[in-house]
């Protein structure tokens, strides 16, 4: 294993939601609604639009890549030195919607701890010590 491994990781979360795609689409694309479940933002459903999500712990740099109303929404997601792409897919299912979120494209060697930031290392090793203490 080495630090330039091209292997990428992805995260998928999906769920059947008892509301139609049109309603979920609004929650995914209107800034004041996005803020209620995700983070403060200056999102706009326009391909190429650069925006940020902001939280107490920092911000996420994003750019809109795909907008297919009520079907697919995709934006880049860069935080803590990690670059990935978040893709939302809405599929009608029995009066409701199958909602799928995939975050993909980041590599194991992009882990924040690998960047050696002092605070990151301290948190990492503090957590390590707690786990080791438990396994004894």
């Amino acid at each position: 294993m080495n630090a330039t491994s091209p292997e990428t990781l992805s995260v998928v979360v999906e769920r059947d939601i008892p509301f139609p795609p049109e309603k979920i689409w609004r929650a995914l694309t209107q800034p004041h609604l996005i803020e209620e479940w995700l983070m403060k933002n200056d999102f706009a459903p326009t391909v190429g639009h650069a925006f940020h999500f902001r939280a107490e712990w920092g911000s996420v740099d994003c750019e809109v890549e795909v907008v297919e109303p009520n079907k697919t929404l995709s934006y880049t997601w860069s935080a803590f030195g990690l670059k990935s792409v978040v893709t939302w897919t809405l599929t009608p299912a029995g009066g409701g919607t199958h909602l799928r979120m995939e975050q993909s494209g980041f590599r194991p060697d992009q882990q924040p701890a690998y960047h050696g930031a002092q605070a990151g290392w301290q948190r990492f090793f503090a957590a390590l010590e707690r786990v080791v203490a438990k396994t004894d």
């Binding site: 080495n2 995260v11 769920r15 979920i24 929650a27 209620e36 060697d109 924040p112 010590e129």
Partner: protein, 107 residues
Amino acid sequence: MSKAQDVLFRTLADPSRRALFERLCREGEATVGALTDRSGISQPAVSKHLRVLEEAGLVRGRPAGRQTHYSAQRAALAPLVDWTSHMVGFWRDRFDRLEDLLKRMDQ
């Protein structure tokens, strides 16, 4: 816990080994002599810790003449720093909040 994680935890649980590994991460390649200078432990002890780190895949030795230069292999930490698990937890929580919002929204 997987075997790979177990080995990494045991290897890094020792404060001297952890200090050596952190120093190699911070400062790049170093010889046993250079690592001994500011470690507060003996050269044989440093060599022994480096062997354990090397067996765990956390450092690699590069022979150069009579010296061996050691460097950190940060990618070996991958089994410990499971970013994907963290993100799955994050998004599941956000899905819950999204569903709550949808219940409160008008049509």
